[in-house]
């Protein structure tokens, strides 16, 4: 674990080389966030680089109210969303009030039946089939393990909204994966 506070203080004093430590620590996380929004490797690389440059330029305004990573995520998220909007692609964290939960037959059996590796493959496939906004929130919470508070800061949404959207996204993913399982779209 790196001592972020110490590194940030060094950077503020003008030590650019210390920034390498932060870049190495977070570039993969920021890249995967950017990729899930812009959906293009080159653009995601550019966005990642830009996010780090912006963060460096504004590091004096970082007041430790959130973690550095959360602050960096927020910069990258805003950058990518603006980029996507400018390009004319739609990326909206819409509030789907009409979302209905269906309790169908019992499904835990089928989940237990399938090998873990195969389940992971199906979930990966399912993630590609759900909405971008659902995938993003699952990625932040369930894959990267960020807290609700961090996600709320990154997406500029109230914590309650984050929770309800995550709930909806998980349910959507579950439904998609279970449909694939029911269709036998896997190797038993």
């Amino acid at each position: 674990m790196i001592d972020e506070k110490n590194i940030i203080e060094k950077i503020i004093k003008g030590d650019i080389d210390s920034y390498s430590l932060l870049i190495n620590e977070y570039q993969n996380d920021i890249y995967s966030l950017c990729l899930s929004i812009v959906k293009n490797v080159d653009d995601a690389m550019d966005m990642t680089q830009e996010a780090f440059l912006i963060a460096f330029e504004n590091i004096k305004s970082f007041k430790y109210k959130a973690k550095f990573s959360t602050w960096l995520y927020r910069i990258a998220y805003n950058l990518c969303v603006n980029y996507v909007k400018r390009k004319g692609d739609l990326f909206i964290l819409e509030n789907d009030e009409t979302f209905n939960v269906e309790i169908e037959d019992k499904t835990s059996g089928i989940w237990e039946e399938i090998e873990k590796e195969e389940r992971i493959r199906l979930i990966n496939e399912g993630l590609k089939r759900i909405k971008d906004s659902d995938r993003l929130i699952i990625e932040l919470k369930d894959i990267k393990g960020l807290s609700y508070e961090d996600i709320s800061t990154i997406l500029s949404l109230p914590m309650g909204t984050v929770k309800s959207r995550l709930f909806r996204a998980r349910e959507n993913l579950k439904k998609v994966v279970e449909n694939m399982m029911k269709k036998g779209d896997f190797n038993k």
Binding site: I16, L35, Q49, E112, N124, R170
Partner: protein
Amino acid sequence: MEKKELIFNIHELIDSKKEKEEILEIFKNDEILLDRYKSLSIMLDDLKNIETPKIPVNLEKSIVKKLKVKQRRRVLSLSLSFALSIIFLIILFFPSLDKKENKILPFVFNKQYKYTISNYVTMNNINNVEITLYVKDNLIEEKSGYLKIPKEEFELLFETLNEKGDLIINKIEGTGEKTDYINIKINYKNNPKISFTGLMGSILPYIIIAILFFIPLPFLIKKYKKWKLY
């Protein structure tokens, strides 16, 4: 409680730090919710094992390099601004850069051998006054002379001129004889200091034009870079 709320509770319980056994105990009487909890918790456990894409190229070096170039440029532009400010201040206040000009004040001769000054330029910045005399006399030969007097003396002379409106000829050395006509030219070294208002009057329009010209440049460069990036 609505189905939606019940399922939302499952998500909440999974996200809480509660032990699995504790949660199972909560749902033990509702098979459907228990099943829902089991399938959901398997999915969430599997999600933890999903690998996110890794960056294809390490950006560390390129970012650090860009930052260093930016910093160098910033230092350079700061030095440049500092140097320009210094030059500006030197121009503003350094006396050796003062303008020097020669002016000739004509004195008009009259028949009573008196000379009246026709115009006068402010003496504020005059150090020395040089007077050239040219005498054409019927009795003696043509003569010309050169007289250099300190400013203070000339000021006294000028005060006299200013009060009386003329200058009596015999006050000028070497002109005691009768003359037909005498030309007196005053060549004085005018060292006007560049005053702030004077400078502003002459340089300010250029400065304003330069500022107006350069103001949009950083914005345009930034815009161009962004468009290039996106």
